[in-house]
C-alpha cells in the first residue's frame, strides 16, 4: 500500500489536521489552562486556519512545497511555543520527503523530531511534545519497511502512549516548568496535540 504522494494529497492531509485541531480546540485549551496559559488550542486553531487559507490561495504542487508553506504559516501565525516548534518540524520534514514510502515517512518524522529538539532543546521526560514525538519516530523506524499506513499507525499509537506518559512528569521545559512539582498530574497539551496530528495522518492515509 502506498500513500498518495502528490502535493494535493499532502494538502488534504493537512486540511484534515486543521479539522482535527478545531475539533479539539477546547480540550487543548483546558489542558494548557492547567499547566500553562490556556492558549494551546486557540494557537493551533488559529495556525491551522491560516494554513488552510494559505493552501486555498496558493498553487503549491509538490509535497515539499506544501509542507514548507505549512511550516512558514505555523511559524507566523501560532503565536506560542508550539508555532516555532511545529513549524520547524514541518520544515525539516519537507526537505527530507523525497519519495513517499514507509522508509521516507519514517525519515521525515525523524527529521521533524530533530528539528523540534534543535529548536526547543527538550528531551524525553521534560513533559513536552518530544515525549510524544520521539517514541513515535522510534516506532515508525522499527517498521519502516512496511507500508506508509503501517508506519504512520505505529507512530500514532506510540505518540498516544508517549503523551499519556507525560501525566506524572514534572515539566522541565516550556511554560509549565514555572509550576515545578505542581505540573505533575496533568497531560502536556503539546504532547496531546502531537498525538492528535499523527492520528489524523493515519486516517488520511487510510482514506486515500
Amino acid at each position: 500500500m502506498t500513500m498518495g504522494c502528490s502535493g494535493t494529497d499532502v494538502a488534504s492531509a493537512v486540511r484534515a489536521m486543521a479539522t482535527v485541531v478545531a475539533a479539539h480546540r477546547d480540550e487543548l485549551v483546558e489542558l494548557d489552562r492547567a499547566i500553562g496559559d490556556g492558549d494551546h488550542g486557540e494557537n493551533l486553531k488559529r495556525g491551522f486556519e491560516a494554513v488552510v487559507s494559505a493552501l486555498d490561495s496558493s498553487e503549491v504542487d509538490t509535497p515539499t512545497a506544501v509542507l514548507k508553506l505549512v511550516a512558514k504559516t505555523l511559524i507566523s501565525k501560532v503565536g506560542g511555543a508550539s508555532g516555532p516548534l511545529l513549524g520547524t518540524a514541518f520544515l525539516r520534514a519537507a526537505t527530507s520527503l523525497e519519495e513517499v514510502d514507509g522508509a521516507s515517512v519514517a525519515a521525515a518524522l525523524r527529521a521533524a523530531l530533530d528539528g523540534v529538539v534543535a529548536r526547543g532543546k527538550a528531551e524525553v521526560g521534560d513533559k513536552t511534545m518530544v515525549d510524544a514525538l520521539r517514541p513515535a519516530v522510534d516506532a515508525a523506524e522499527a517498521v519502516k519497511d512496511k507500508s506508509v499506513a503501517e508506519v504512520l499507525a505505529a507512530a500514532a499509537t506510540a505518540a498516544e502512549a508517549g503523551a499519556e506518559s507525560t501525566i506524572p512528569l514534572v515539566a522541565r521545559k516550556g511554560r509549565a516548568s514555572y509550576l515545578g512539582e505542581r505540573s505533575a498530574g496533568h497531560l502536556d497539551p503539546g504532547a496531546r496535540s502531537t498525538s492528535l496530528l499523527l492520528r489524523s495522518l493515519v486516517d488520511s492515509a487510510a482514506a486515500s
Binding site: D37, D39, A81, K121, R172, R175, S177, Y178, L179, G180
Partner: protein, 126 residues
C-alpha cells in the same frame, strides 16, 4: 490564600504589559500595574504604587517587583507606608521573569514568603 502582585515601573505600558503577561498564567491573582507618572511621562509615582499595593494585598500580602533601581526606592517607601508593612515584600529580581514566577506561585496558593522566593529564583529553563 492568594498573595497579590504589584509591578512598579517607570512606564505605564511596561507595568501593564508585565501584568497582562503574568496574569495569563494566574487568573485568580490580583496583579496591579503601577507604572509611569500622572502626566504620562516616564517615572515612578509613589501614590500610584501605594494605591496598587492597597489593592493587591487582599489579606494575604503582596510582593512588589520593580524595573530599575529608583523604582525600588519608591517600592520600599510604599511598603513602609502600607497598613501592614510585614504584608509586603519588595523582590530584587528581573521584573518580567520575576513577575511570571511570582504569579504562578501565587496562583498555586503559595504564601508571601513562598511567592517572594519563587519570584527571586532563577526562572526555569524554557
Amino acid at each position: 490564600m492568594t498573595v497579590g502582585i504589584v509591578i512598579v515601573s517607570h512606564s505605564v505600558k511596561l507595568a501593564e504589559g508585565v501584568a497582562e503577561l503574568a496574569g495569563q498564567m494566574a487568573p485568580n491573582v490580583t496583579i496591579r500595574a503601577a507604572g509611569g507618572m500622572d502626566d504620562g511621562s516616564l517615572g515612578t509615582d509613589f501614590d500610584r504604587v501605594c494605591t496598587a499595593l492597597e489593592q493587591a494585598d487582599t489579606g494575604d500580602g503582596a510582593v512588589l517587583l520593580y524595573d530599575l533601581g529608583s523604582a525600588r526606592m519608591i517600592a520600599d517607601l510604599a511598603v513602609e507606608a502600607h497598613a501592614n508593612p510585614l504584608h509586603a515584600v519588595v523582590v530584587d529580581a528581573p521584573v518580567v521573569e520575576g513577575a511570571v514566577a511570582a504569579a504562578v506561585a501565587a496562583q498555586g496558593g503559595g504564601d508571601l514568603a513562598g511567592v517572594a522566593r519563587a519570584a527571586g529564583e532563577r526562572p526555569p529553563e524554557f
